[in-house]
Amino acid sequence: MHIRKLKIWFIIPLLVLLAATAFIGSCGDSSTTTTTPANGTELSGSFGITGSNTVTPLTTVWAEEFMNMHPKVSIAVSGPGSGAGIAALINSTTDICQASRAIKPTEIEQANAVGVEPFEIQVATDALSVIVHPSNPVSELTIAQLSAIYTNQITNWKEVGGNDKPIVAIARDTNSGTHVFFKEHVVQMLGLTTEDKSLEYGNKILQLPSTEEGVSEVAKNPNAIFYPGLGYVTDDVKPLAIKKTANDAGVLPSAATALDGTYPVARPLLYYTNRAPTGVIKEFIDYCLSDEGQAKVTEVGYVPLK
């Protein structure tokens, strides 16, 4: 009898605790609690940014700096991929979508259908790097060669001047804006005379869930090739010089070559909001575009706007 009573006293707080966690859990999901600062008072509020895995390192730095300057602001950053971010914007589960590719017309239609109007802001530029293992003797490739590698037409490194080793071509999964950008600009060779819209990634291509995983595989595997954003290139991997056509000179990815337009696979890094941003979100984006914010772009390894 004693034990029974004890158990009830044990169960009641447990139930309360459960209910409380459920309540907090359901609260934590809604990232769209934004408060507009009244004039003259301290900036406060919380919002979420999700989308591109490529932009994430940059956004994280900006968010941390911004939260240091305004301690009452909290920003949640995640990077499942540009497609996932745009889907989140359409489903109204994020305040800012970060993207490494432009929104597609079909996605704008889907957004308008549910009353969301995507508003585009370019925050930086990226030189999409193609990396291999440091021991790989290949140092430059043309876009046509890359296209052939990623459509499984070239499967051995000796066909592009390397060792007699199989090529392990690594791509991001379909969530990724980099996946789509690379498909359009490299696999399908957009803007070149050899452009072919019907080309797709070959089915032997590895599709990995994150950019970090791809870089770490290239750092370990002498057969591998991968295409991370410039910000992810480390000393453990070797970036390749890219030649637009066989007659052009190879250009290595860097801030300078992306800015002067000589690097062939540079792309804008974008933020999307539902209509023009207001309140604390506008303050944040203004900070990103300020000289101070743009200085961080270089630190992270991407290319500032000016």
Binding site: M1, A87, D173, H179, L206, P209, N221
Partner: protein
């Protein structure tokens, strides 16, 4: 003896009931109905999940006919126009599960037999909790271990172009289903009455003969359940296979190739899918396929168990 115990239990309950009076009976009614509601809730939730899977998944078949969906070998969800064929995922799940089962079942049963029949009490009492602890490892940690330690090893041992393959994923899954298989089959073996062993020894059988011809057959129903639980875990595991299986979209002809099992295909695509879109429906249809597959495994397991029970009743 059991009857006696039950009587004394009933007696105790009567004493308690008369002591507590009406309040106690009310409390019991409350608990009873609470448990009943809890049972009902699980059924409602299960039905809800099935209805959701069917409602979101089936519409894809108006766009892609079922035969193209199940036997198609091209999966290009973000292309214009998109194509949805899940054969590569289906075969990948099959390979990964086969590798995991081939490794975990012999090791698991041998380990369970050792723990239950051979090991001294002290050894068993230390090893069993440790094995059960292994079951508690988060799958993302196992994926990380697979990525950092196992995949370079698999690559160099089997001389593969890359260590991210179905083989690596299968080995990792074997580690993850081992604790379940060992724990459940050890319980089953321990439940075999000691008379069976004594009788076997009395006939002059050795320890090995006793384990192989008496204990394991007697515990077979429990061991089958253990294996099915392990297979179920291997089919349904997501994070680990997403991280180490490699994610290639070709139909894999050998387990040593990079591949994308069904769970990984859902996980890597769902973030990108707009609610109600074609890709969303296709991913739900994969989920439905996965559900039917595990249901089938469970039904087969159930059949085996029933037959086993009947055999022992005779």
């Amino acid at each position: 003896m059991k009857q006696k115990q039950r009587d004394s239990n009933a007696g105790a309950a009567a004493v308690l009931a008369s002591g507590l009076g009406r309040r106690w009976r009310l409390g019991e009614k409350f608990i009873e109905s609470w448990i009943y509601l809890a049972g009902l809730l699980t059924i409602v939730v299960l039905l809800g999940i099935i209805i959701l899977l069917v409602k979101e998944g089936v519409p894809i078949f108006f766009d892609t006919p079922p035969w193209e969906f199940f036997f198609g070998t091209n999966w290009y969800p973000v292309s214009e126009p998109p194509t949805f064929g899940i054969m590569p995922f289906f075969v990948a799940t099959l390979w990964v599960t086969i590798v995991a089962t081939a490794i975990s079942v012999p090791i698991g049963i041998a380990c369970a037999a050792y723990l239950s029949e051979v090991a001294p009490d002290k050894v068993r009492e230390t090893i069993k909790p440790v094995i059960e602890l292994l079951a508690g490892f988060p799958s993302v940690v196992m994926g990380f271990i697979g990525l950092m330690l196992l995949s370079p090893l698999v690559q160099s041992v089997f001389n593969l172009p890359t260590g991210l393959s179905g083989l690596t994923a299968g080995i990792m899954l074997a580690f993850m289903s081992l604790p379940i298989i060992i724990s459940v089959s050890e319980d089953a073996l321990r439940a075999v009455p000691d008379e069976f062993r004594q009788a076997s020894y009395a006939l002059g059988a050795t320890k090995w003969e006793t384990i192989w011809h008496v204990c394991i057959p007697a515990a077979l129903s429990g061991i089958t359940a253990a294996v099915m639980l392990g297979v179920g875990r291997a089919i349904g595991e997501t994070m680990t296979v997403l991280m180490v299986a490699g994610g290639a979209l070709a139909v894999p002809v050998s387990p040593a190739e990079p591949m994308m099992p069904m769970t990984a295909a859902i996980a890597s695509g769902i973030g990108n899918a707009v609610r109600g879109g074609l890709q969303y429906q296709a991913l739900f249809a994969i989920g439905l396929t996965l559900f039917v597959l595990t249901l089938f495994v469970n039904l087969v397991a159930d059949r085996v168990l029933q037959r086993q029970k009947r055999k022992f009743q005779r």
